[in-house]
């Protein structure tokens, strides 16, 4: 039964992804794939955040900063020319770390190759996540939320105020990422279907990965911490390490999403690190049901898709603010919680009646 549910909940998204693409292409609405692809990358971010918020119980109001760290690192490395001696260039080129590419004016320059930039982005994010996470995860409740908000804002201000990161203009002209010529991660129309499947492949892989993580010992430790941190600690769970690991995993996922999205869009701007973006991620996770991964996937995908298609017009921010209020006010455990409670109540009712009848008869 459990295996069936397992397969079903995973297969369902896969089928939905394929069906969407087929349907869109058949109806001549292939352009939906653009926003669907972008939405997939944001789904990766929210899934990671769901692990942190829903399972480890730690709120982060600054997760946009990790997306931005990843995106900016790869953007800067793949667009800024390097000055290396020829010998170094030869070695690194052979290793696939650097390559010659044309800039906007058509002038060939030496830049870091996307795979190496990706690795660098993840390493930087790992370092920052450890640096930030280690002290702040000792905080509880709203202190942690505020500290992460502060962190996100610092990253935003630094990106906004530094000419090296493009200041307010951000970085543009980010090249596509070619995977051995078979597939290129870019935003061009002729590569759209392949990019759609790559993006959703990444999102579903993230889903699978996190599901397995949650079902492992680590996941159980997180659940224990979420339930009652002190008791978990008393039972021998290394609460600090577990929380930090969850934080780092979610940060790395956000950064990876940032890298892919930046190659897809061809650029990135400081708004990705802003407070509104980070609050939006929290709203999406809340709307999906906190720790409910498929729920978060569906909510994020749907709402982000609509937002990117201008369904909300100038009220975009207001919509997410309203969602945040609505969900947290009426269903702090997630929108499906009232339903869940009702179902559980129902399930408990029958054995209770049987028990009462038995006692009555006795």
């Amino acid at each position: 039964m459990r295996l069936f549910r397992s397969i079903a909940t995973f297969l369902l998204p896969v089928l939905a992804v394929i069906a969407f693409q087929q349907d869109a292409s058949a109806a001549g609405r292939g352009y939906y794939l653009t926003q669907a692809t972008m939405a997939a990358y944001y789904v990766v971010v929210t899934l990671g955040l769901a692990l942190l918020m829903g399972h480890a119980g730690q709120v982060s109001l600054g997760h946009g900063a990790f997306f931005a760290l990843g995106g900016y690192t790869s953007a800067i490395l793949t667009t800024r020319p390097l000055d290396l001696p020829p010998a170094a260039e030869r070695t690194l080129s052979a290793l696939g770390c650097v390559l010659r590419a044309e800039d906007a004016a058509g002038v060939p320059q030496l830049v870091v190759a996307p795979p190496a930039a990706f690795a660098a982005a993840l390493l930087l994010t790992l370092a920052v996540a450890l640096l930030v996470g280690y002290p702040t995860l000792r905080l509880r409740g709203y202190y942690l939320a505020m500290a992460t908000l502060g962190f996100g804002l610092i990253v935003y201000r630094v990106l906004l105020g530094t000419p090296f990161t493009g200041a307010a203009d951000g970085i543009h002209g980010v090249p596509g990422w070619s995977f051995g010529g078979a597939f290129t991660l870019c935003g061009r129309r002729d590569h759209r279907v392949a990019n759609y499947y790559f993006a959703w492949g990444a999102a579903l892989l993230t889903l699978l990965l996190l599901r397995n993580l949650i079902r492992s010992r680590f996941g159980r430790a997180l659940a224990a911490i979420h339930d009652h941190e002190t008791a978990a600690g008393a039972m021998g769970v290394n609460t600090a390490a577990c929380k930090l690991q969850a934080f780092v995993v979610s940060a790395l996922l956000a950064a990876a999403a940032g890298v892919f999205a930046t190659h897809f869009n061809g650029g990135i701007g400081p708004s990705e690190a802003g407070a509104l973006k980070s609050v939006r991620y929290v709203a999406l996770v809340a709307a999906g049901g906190m720790g409910n991964l498929p729920g978060v996937l569906a909510a994020s995908a749907g709402l982000t898709f609509l937002s990117l298609r201008d369904a909300f017009g100038t009220y975009d921010d207001a919509v997410f603010g309203a969602i945040l209020i609505a969900v947290v006010t009426w269903a702090p455990q997630g929108p499906l919680e009232p339903l869940g409670r009702a179902l559980r109540g129902l399930a408990a009712w029958r054995p209770a009646r049987r028990e009462a009848a038995r006692r009555g008869a006795a």
């Binding site: 905080l139 509880r140 409740g141 502060g150 962190f151 945040l324 947290v328 702090p332």
Partner: protein
């Protein structure tokens, strides 16, 4: 030397603004335990409403009406909405108030659009300044500090010496016992929201000539005001004022070592440091903030 002194006066100028917001945070927190992120929006609304009214009414009257209106709005928010949030943790409340702040901001944009506005200076003109050893301070800053100071004094007296004030403190310390003692919890909470909103609105009017009023000014104010309140310790309005001035000074003094572009980041860095090192605030004592 006069340059350095100017940094300090500049720090006092922006610090007075943060202090005003911090005191507002403080009031609601003391009586309801809620960290109200919409506090920044009350400040914005005060300025906006006053500017709109000032086109037809004398400035003083416009300010008074604006303060009353925003105060009623704040009280109304508590009465219709916050009242129902019983089983929510402080973290939930923070998130909810952030969502509320976003909604208020968007509504303000819809009503007033994106243009920048301001009230006239309460005294003097836009270029009047008080000179202190070669550095200058706008008299409006003294108005802001004066208002904040009066508010703190009023709070101090109210909380200590009036029945209503003592009732509010009781509600914060032990809601159940307070209720048993016959204190109407609901009324107290509504009053404190109303007062905090009114105070925020008054601050918004006072700072309007200095900072100019714009629909999106609330968010930064809320975060920095919270940093100030946290620095001073959430329990004490006087400490909130000190916290505000401290944040302002740190921000402005930072430009002597960092590029001015990172000024704001300094305030946020202070926030993080305070939360990490002394989450109860540097000046907090027995009335320490709650955890979790």
């Amino acid at each position: 030397m006069s340059t350095f002194l100017q940094y300090i006066l500049s720090g006092v100028t922006v610090g007075s603004v943060y202090a005003a917001v911090a005191v507002g945070f403080n009031v609601i927190y003391r009586t309801t335990g809620v960290l109200n992120f919409a506090q920044g929006e009350f400040v914005m609304l005060g300025g906006m409403v006053a500017v709109t009214l000032a086109a037809r009414l004398p400035t003083g009257v416009a300010v008074a009406v604006a303060v009353a209106a925003v105060g009623l709005f704040g009280a109304g928010l508590e009465w219709t909405f916050f009242r129902r949030l019983r089983r929510h943790t402080p973290l939930h409340m923070v998130v909810i108030t952030i969502g509320l702040a976003i909604l208020i901001r968007e509504a303000a944009r819809h009503v007033w659009d994106e243009k920048v506005r301001s009230l006239p200076f309460f005294s003097g003109t836009s270029v009047s300044s008080l000179r202190l050893f070669g550095a200058a301070l706008s008299p409006q800053v003294l108005w802001v500090l004066g208002i904040v100071g009066l508010a703190v004094l009023a709070l101090h007296l109210t909380f200590r010496h009036t029945l209503a004030g003592r009732a509010m403190r009781a509600c914060a310390a032990n809601p159940d016992a307070a209720q048993l003692a016959g204190i109407n919890l609901g009324v107290m909470r509504t009053l404190s929201f109303g007062f905090s909103a009114a105070l925020g609105a008054l601050a918004g009017c006072a700072i309007s000539p200095l900072t100019l009023t714009q629909y999106d000014m609330g968010a930064d104010l809320a975060i920095k005001g919270f940093a100030a309140a946290a620095l001073g310790g959430l329990g004490d309005p006087m400490a909130a004022v000190a916290g505000g001035l401290a944040v302002g000074l740190a921000e402005k003094l930072s430009i002597s070592i960092l590029p001015a572009a990172y000024e704001d980041a300094t305030a946020f860095a202070i926030l993080i440091l305070v939360l990490l090192v002394r989450p109860h605030g540097l000046l907090a004592s027995r009335s320490a903030a709650r955890s979790g």
